[in-house]
């Protein structure tokens, strides 16, 4: 899958490009307002009609932006599916879990009620739930179980790409661990996973590569291990320094987060969009915006990146 949008649009996401291979997971890392959800939704063309998208979103060689609404509906679910952060809002409260999954199966291929119900049971087993869950309603399940049920729905038609937007943020840490395991297993089975999250720890556990988004642009990209161990962009460094010390460390030092907050979506920029908050900014950051360029194995958009070491 490839994804590109060109410059010049007033959308909060600009010139974001990435590709995703089968069985690979890419983390889109960013805080609120960074544009990660915009990217996630645009992949399924779920943005409101007022949004202007340009560029290309290619899935298996086909440009999703060139499809009609009808063709698109057939691709959604079948080729690319989405998991949202709040499963209680995404599931229908008055339908049994099994009915919802079976309904999704039937929306994309002709199957009898009996066959689609059997398929639903199989999907529930695949996401680690008991078949009895099929007869339950969303409110009867725990948060972790609901998220599994939602993933089962997303998997109903065997999509090649799964887009997950903060899939664990509504869960407590123990339930989160289970969902991480499940998503990892799906990736290993060949599903391409795009994870939009603010949680660096989650990305570290789940993603092969990460792209750090700031105010609608990718500012750093590379393998997860490289970016997190040796961040080059001052913003990535600031995110890492916002985290409390690891458990068992007796460090009592003050945290060193990035000062200020993410600019609002309507903000306009001249030069580097991070320079107002950047401890390394110089005069050369004002006249033009740095491009994402290859640098020591990764990619960084910064005129004064941190040492590669």
């Amino acid at each position: 899958m490839r994804f590109q949008t060109p410059e010049g649009s007033p959308a909060p996401v600009r010139r974001v490009s990435f590709n995703l291979q089968r069985g690979e997971s890419l983390g889109l890392i960013g805080e609120s307002g960074s544009g990660k959800t915009t990217v996630a939704l645009s992949l399924l063309r779920l943005l409101p009609r007022t949004a202007q998208i340009s560029g290309r979103i290619e899935l298996g060689g086909e440009n999703l932006l060139g499809l009609s609404e009808g063709e698109l509906t057939r691709r959604r679910g079948a080729r690319i599916a989405m998991v949202f952060h709040d499963p209680l809002a995404a599931l229908n409260p008055v339908l049994r879990i099994g009915t919802q999954i079976a309904e999704t199966v039937r929306a994309h291929r002709s199957a009898s009620r009996k066959d689609s119900w059997a398929a639903a049971l199989g999907l529930l087993r695949r996401v680690g739930l008991a078949e009895e869950v099929a007869r339950g309603y969303p409110h009867q399940l725990s948060g972790g179980m609901r998220q599994r049920a939602l993933i089962a729905t997303a998997l109903a038609c065997g999509p090649a790409v799964l887009v997950a937007d903060e899939p664990t943020s509504a869960l407590d840490p123990v339930a989160q661990g289970g969902i991480v395991e499940l998503l990892r297993q799906l990736r290993d089975e060949g599903v391409a996973l795009l994870l939009a999250t603010h949680d660096l720890g989650l990305a570290a556990r789940l993603c092969d590569r990460i792209a750090v988004l700031y105010a609608g642009r990718i500012v750093e990209r590379g393998t997860t291990a490289e970016v997190l161990a040796r961040p080059r962009h001052p913003y990535t460094m600031g995110l890492l320094r916002s985290l409390p010390p690891p458990l068992g460390s007796s460090s009592d030092a003050r945290l060193q987060p990035v000062a200020g907050s993410v600019p609002p979506p309507w903000a306009t920029f001249s030069g580097c969009r991070f320079r107002d908050r950047c401890p390394r900014a110089g005069d050369d950051c004002a006249p033009r915006e740095p491009e994402l360029v290859e640098d020591a194995g990764g990619e960084v958009a910064c005129f004064h990146p941190l040492e590669a070491r």
Binding site: G143, D172, L200, G201, A225, Q256
Partner: protein, 256 residues
């Protein structure tokens, strides 16, 4: 222990015939920060609310500076609440959307009869300054604030009456990582300058270990373990503690 600010003894809360908080006991010293951590549904928020008598306890005692909070009349309780304030997870729902920042911060002062016309504006501005917000926000409404600003306003409102205890119920969870870090730095500064005690309720053990003097692990309505963070992490005694440690450690970035 006679100098304790807050002593909780055998506190039980029932909901719909189910005991959701079961025999909880702990003491909080003035200026101390106690973390309450546990999975969803372990009873963390119930504990916070029961301690402040925001919901009815089935049994037990909560002593505030030696007086039984659960036994005193409502009127007196209201006066005592001046000393114990709470910050919630979602500032968007804890601030009144129809009140300006200035009005929100001034309201607790009015309720507790601390608002004097001559000094009110200065006090409100002072509280905002304390949470590192500028006076230009005074006349804004909650929808005009960012999430981080709104949570600071909620904190300024909680600090308005000069409390001795701040109860923070997942007060950082809704914030982005850099705002969480800014906020925890601010809370640490305020704790030091105001010597305010804090009950810090969270599912984030890593942040709790960094921020708290002691941590109580809650599981199925009971405190299963309570100790300082270093000991808790080095030598966990209960399965619930080990599960929280495992979950928090697997997301530490150094382990990958």
């Amino acid at each position: 222990m006679s100098a304790a600010l807050l002593e909780v003894e055998d506190l039980c809360v029932d909901r719909g015939g189910v005991r959701v908080l079961d025999g909880v006991s702990f003491a909080l010293q003035p200026g101390e920060t106690l973390g309450i951590v546990g999975e969803s549904g372990s009873g963390k928020s119930t504990l916070a609310r029961a301690v402040l008598r925001l919901l009815e306890a089935a049994r037990g005692r909560v002593r505030w500076r030696g007086r039984d909070l659960l036994a005193i009349p409502e009127r007196e309780l209201r006066a005592m609440r001046r000393e114990m304030q709470m910050v919630f997870q979602d500032p968007a729902s804890s601030l009144d959307p129809r009140m300006t920042v200035a009005a929100s911060v001034a309201e607790p002062l009015a309720i507790h009869g601390l608002a004097h016309r001559a000094t009110l504006a200065a006090r409100v501005a002072g509280r905002l300054q304390q949470v590192e917000l500028g006076p230009e926000l005074l006349h804004r409404y909650p929808h005009e604030l960012s999430g981080g600003q709104a949570q600071r306003v909620a904190l300024a409102r909680a600090l308005a009456t000069g409390p001795s205890l701040l109860v923070a119920d997942e007060a950082l969870s809704a914030l982005d990582v850099s705002l969480q870090a800014q906020m925890v730095n601010l809370l640490r500064d305020l704790r030091a300058t105001l010597s305010i005690a804090c009950l810090y309720i969270s599912h984030d053990l890593r942040m709790a270990a960094y921020f708290c003097d002691r941590i109580a692990v809650l599981s199925r309505g009971r405190i299963v373990e309570i100790s300082d963070p270093a000991t808790l992490v080095r030598d966990p005694r209960h399965a619930a503690t080990r599960a929280l440690i495992a979950a928090a450690s697997s997301s530490t970035l150094t382990s990958t």
